[in-house]
Symmetry: none
Subunit: 269 residues, 2 copies
């Protein structure tokens, strides 16, 4: 098991502190997204709401992950040794199983597409997202390289399919958006590609190493946590920015009146 290693106190504290930072980032993002709903046109509010739901679910899981990591190691002197209580990786996968489909939903929701177009994207992307996570878990808990590679490869198939749909079908939906929205959406997709690329690297770390080691465990946990912060909290902030830009465009076009009795500029802090 990757977790049956002795950490230095520095490594142990690095991981715990990073988990705590993740909880704090999700808490802050959660409140921001809930509150920013009143700054955007009603049609974009569900996107911000779903984004807040993602951060609440993920924050709950990092709370559990923090506790599980704390229970799995006991500090004695300069080292943190395994207690025998296993570090529960399932929290991550349950989290991703719930939140990755929701991240897809918020991405589609912020476009406020026509019903048929929205439905077509949801039907393709949401099951693919759930399948990607479900196929990854057996590989994550595998003790040997063989099954880890097999399940990892199977999980990659829905991932590639999602990228294909995001860059083709969603691309054509994007072509009807304004330049400003298209630029923001390009950044959003690049963030998605960049952060989602970290997960397979963290997942494959054990394959590249000849044996379990402390730095391997720390590398995996740091990789997953940083990727989660970017892919959920920063992603949510970008979703809010897109909603703000689109709201400003609707106000400009006279389609939406979002005022306190007077004309108002909608701005992101």
């Amino acid at each position: 098991m990757l977790e049956d290693v002795t950490l230095t106190v520095g490594q142990y504290e690095l991981v715990l502190n990073l988990f705590s930072m993740t909880i704090a980032a999700f808490l802050g993002g959660f409140i921001y997204l809930l509150g920013m709903r009143s700054q955007v046109a009603r049609r974009f509010q569900p996107a911000l709401l779903v984004s807040a739901v993602v951060l609440a679910i993920a924050g709950y899981h990092y709370w559990r992950i923090y506790g599980s990591f704390q229970g799995a190691f006991a500090v004695s002197g300069d080292v943190a040794e395994p207690t025998g209580d296993s570090f529960n990786n399932a929290y991550r996968y349950v989290d991703w199983f719930l939140t990755v489909p929701l991240l897809v939903i918020e991405t589609i929701a912020v476009l406020a597409l026509a019903k048929a177009e929205k439905r077509s994207l949801l039907i393709k992307l949401v099951p693919a997202a759930a399948l990607m996570i479900a196929l990854g878990y057996p590989g994550e808990i595998a003790e040997t390289t063989g099954p880890r590679l097999v399940w990892g490869t199977l999980s990659t198939i829905p991932f590639l399919y999602m990228l294909y749909v995001l860059w083709t079908e969603m691309g054509s939906a994007l072509s009807r958006q304004s330049d400003a929205v298209r630029v923001k959406f390009r950044n959003l997709r690049l963030l998605l590609l960049g952060t989602w690329g970290v997960y397979p690297i963290a997942y494959l770390l054990p394959v590249f190493a000849s044996e379990a080691s402390a730095s391997l465990l720390v590398g995996r946990e740091v990789g997953y946590a940083l990727a989660d912060i970017l892919a959920k909290a920063l992603f949510g902030v970008l979703i809010a920015q897109i909603a703000l830009v689109k709201t400003a465009e609707l106000i400009e076009a006279g389609e939406v009146d979002l005022t306190d009795g007077e004309s108002v500029r909608v701005t992101a802090p």
Copy 2:
């Protein structure tokens, strides 16, 4: 007692992880339903609110159930052995005693019926729901098959009465709804029938087995937890969808103005 069995670590972790997933699903659903109230006409908002209340109560109880299960077993090596602290099934029944009548209330509330019609349904369905749960509990904690079957049968009487009312009296209330709402409501009732059918099966598992076993306990807990996720969280999402469809119809008919100053499309993510 069904709980006096030794589990494998895998079985123990499966149950705990599923309980944790249930908490996360209820947390997410709770936030979603509270937030979506601003997307529906005011007359449907209480239905979403009651649905959020259900998820809050159920999430609290799963937090207790998680802790009770964790305290009832101690991992040692490859197995999880009973500690002597009993796993508290009463949390489930208290939860159902409070939430099943509320689920009935939210189902009636989302129809926004005339007062007399609403009252007639509530008077029949709410006491029947409470009675169904109250009669089930003595059977659940019974040590032998006899009382389990007797109480189970008594509990089935209000259950069948509820199905009768849902399919006859509510059926006639539904006949005045639009096609789109009727289809959604058909799905809602089928979900109710399908998930509520899981509870008696999980309840009767001990009757079919000659003795207590780990797989029996795991089967019962997995069955109850999955049924709860579907019957409460997914049920709540369907309630929100019905409210959104009915709101869109009211906007279409010019009866409701739910705008940011001007015409607005209400969309569900």
